[in-house]
């Protein structure tokens, strides 16, 4: 009961911030919608030009856009929520309260889920209205795809936060560039087989590559690739454990070297 209250306390802090700042709310939905519009017209153009089945081409590309945005928004939701504490120089107060580090992680995760929903749901509705692409038509397996990509967003963000604890606010740029930098390896819009041979094992170490292979099979062939989902889930468990360990080590190091006292500097 008490941990839930503390977790809610940190969530309330951020929800109150959004209630008071409409630019922050607009920002949540702006990029997913822009991506959806650009890729929607692009996929229609290619489908008509190449003479391929338009529904499948549009489905693969727009499905890719929506699912990749899920990973991106989850990552940014988690990391930016932490950065808000750094920017407002409030981390000192948070860390001297009875809030445990794992409770802070739980609050960041919940806020990431809220921010992801606020970003991706409007883009999904737009995809259905403008391009007649209903992401729900992928089927119940969609939930597993989304969950795996959200978890990937969390652990990449946890890795970024660990680096900020270790290197200070100077590592902030990693928050913005880390996950977008992994996009070429995530095989969002093309199969992993397109990549050079030496790059393929690296791509396959990322859960996202397996999710998007699974998405293409579901949209193109109507097949559910449970093997890809198992790989994605297993890799997520591995990466999440590794970054959780990294976070714990860096948090303890920050308590030893005094970084928690001046992390925004």
């Amino acid at each position: 009961m008490i941990p839930l209250r503390r977790i809610w306390g940190l969530m309330y802090r951020h929800l109150a911030l959004y209630r008071r700042s409409w630019p922050r709310l607009v920002d949540l939905a702006y990029w997913p919608i822009m991506q959806m519009i650009i890729w929607g017209f692009t996929s229609h153009f290619f489908a008509n030009r190449l003479g391929s089945a338009p529904a499948v081409t549009v489905g693969m590309l727009l499905g890719g856009v929506l699912l990749w945005e899920t990973a991106l928004r989850s990552h940014l939701g988690f990391a930016v929520t932490f950065m808000e504490e750094v920017w407002s120089r409030n981390l000192g107060h948070v860390f001297i309260s009875p809030l445990r580090p794992w409770e802070m992680i739980a609050a960041l995760t919940a806020m990431a889920a809220v921010r992801t929903a606020l970003g991706v749901v409007p883009a999904s509705i737009l995809a259905a209205l403008l391009y007649h692409f209903n992401i729900i038509s992928v089927g119940p397996v969609l939930v597993l795809f989304l969950l795996n990509l959200m978890v990937m967003g969390w652990w990449v963000a946890l890795g970024c936060i660990s680096l900020i604890l270790s290197q200070g606010g100077g590592a902030e740029s990693l928050v913005w560039s880390m996950l977008p930098g992994l996009a070429p390896l995530a095989a969002v819009y093309y199969p992993v087989a397109i990549l050079p041979h030496w790059l393929q094992p690296i791509a396959l170490a990322l859960p996202a590559a397996h999710v998007f292979e699974g998405l293409r099979a579901a949209v193109g062939q109507g097949v559910i690739r449970w093997d890809q989902l198992a790989w994605a889930s297993g890799l997520n468990a591995l990466w999440l454990s590794a970054t959780a360990l990294l976070f714990w080590q860096q948090f303890q190091a920050a308590r030893r070297n005094g970084a928690l006292m001046n992390i925004g500097e």
Binding site: G9, L10, Y12, L17, S88, N90, H93, I96, S97, P98
Partner: protein, 246 residues
């Protein structure tokens, strides 16, 4: 009776720098103790270790009966901290900020507690204003309200009246005196304001270069250094005139 604070052989070293050098002290429940020293004396480092924000290199801290190395969260729930140098989220209103910390400290009947604090610290005029838009005096009162939200048994104050005009500073000091008398709260006060320390503290620890170089009640220190106020004692210690006095 268990000490409110028990510090034994506390040391903090950052590579080549010895920030706190083997200090020991006890604070009894209900006592107000002053931590005095110039810049770089080790006051902030000591407070950070008392709050569990910083891990000591050596030594042991027990706060309200809890070993800070093993069970710091039990102690943190019963203590709090205020400093004009640690901000509250500027975009949140005063009431929202207090609500956040009410949840983090598991305060029952938060709205009632906020109303009490608003009455005691005269926050009513700006409860709904963003914390970032307050004057220095208002920010200090809000920071104090935040530090009292959980009715702490131990209150750590780092220069609570810094940047306040004399009138507001006096109001805050009067309020602290009254609160301490009514609540029985233990207070550790770090300050550069010697008059404030003389007025509020029953004991004083004088720090210099990471060490406690003298201690006693304000009147003991004045007698020992043959001075009329703590500011002169402070200068004697800062300028190494202890040997001459002895």
């Amino acid at each position: 009776m268990t000490d409110a604070i028990h510090v034994e052989s506390l040391t903090k070293r950052y590579r080549e720098t010895l920030a706190v050098d083997d200090i020991s002290f006890r604070v009894r429940p209900g006592e107000t103790i002053g931590l005095l020293g110039g810049n770089g004396a080790g006051k902030t480092t000591t407070i950070a270790m008392l709050l569990g924000l910083l891990v000591p290199t050596a030594g042991r801290i027990t706060v309200l009966g809890h070993d800070m190395a093993r069970n710091r969260f039990a102690a943190l729930a019963k203590m709090n901290f205020s400093s004009p140098y640690v901000a509250l989220p500027a975009r949140l209103s005063v009431a929202e900020n207090l609500r956040v910390y009410g949840h983090l400290y598991n305060v029952r009947h938060i709205e009632r507690r906020i109303a009490e604090l608003a009455h005691e610290l005269d926050l009513h005029g700006f409860l709904d204003r963003s914390a970032g838009k307050l004057s220095a005096g208002q920010k200090t009162r809000v920071a104090l309200a935040k530090s009292l939200i959980n009715r702490p048994e131990l209150l750590l104050l780092d220069e609570p009246t810094a940047s306040l005009d004399p009138d507001t500073g006096d109001l805050v000091r009067s309020w602290l005196e009254r609160y301490r008398a009514e609540s029985g709260c233990t207070v550790l006060l770090a300050s550069h304001n010697m008059a404030e320390v003389e007025r509020l503290c029953s004991h004083v620890l004088m720090m210099k270069q990471g060490r406690i170089v003298d201690r006693g009640t304000p009147s003991e220190l004045l007698t020992r250094y043959n001075r009329v106020d703590l500011e002169e004692v402070f200068l004697d210690i800062a300028r190494d005139r202890q040997a001459e006095i002895a």
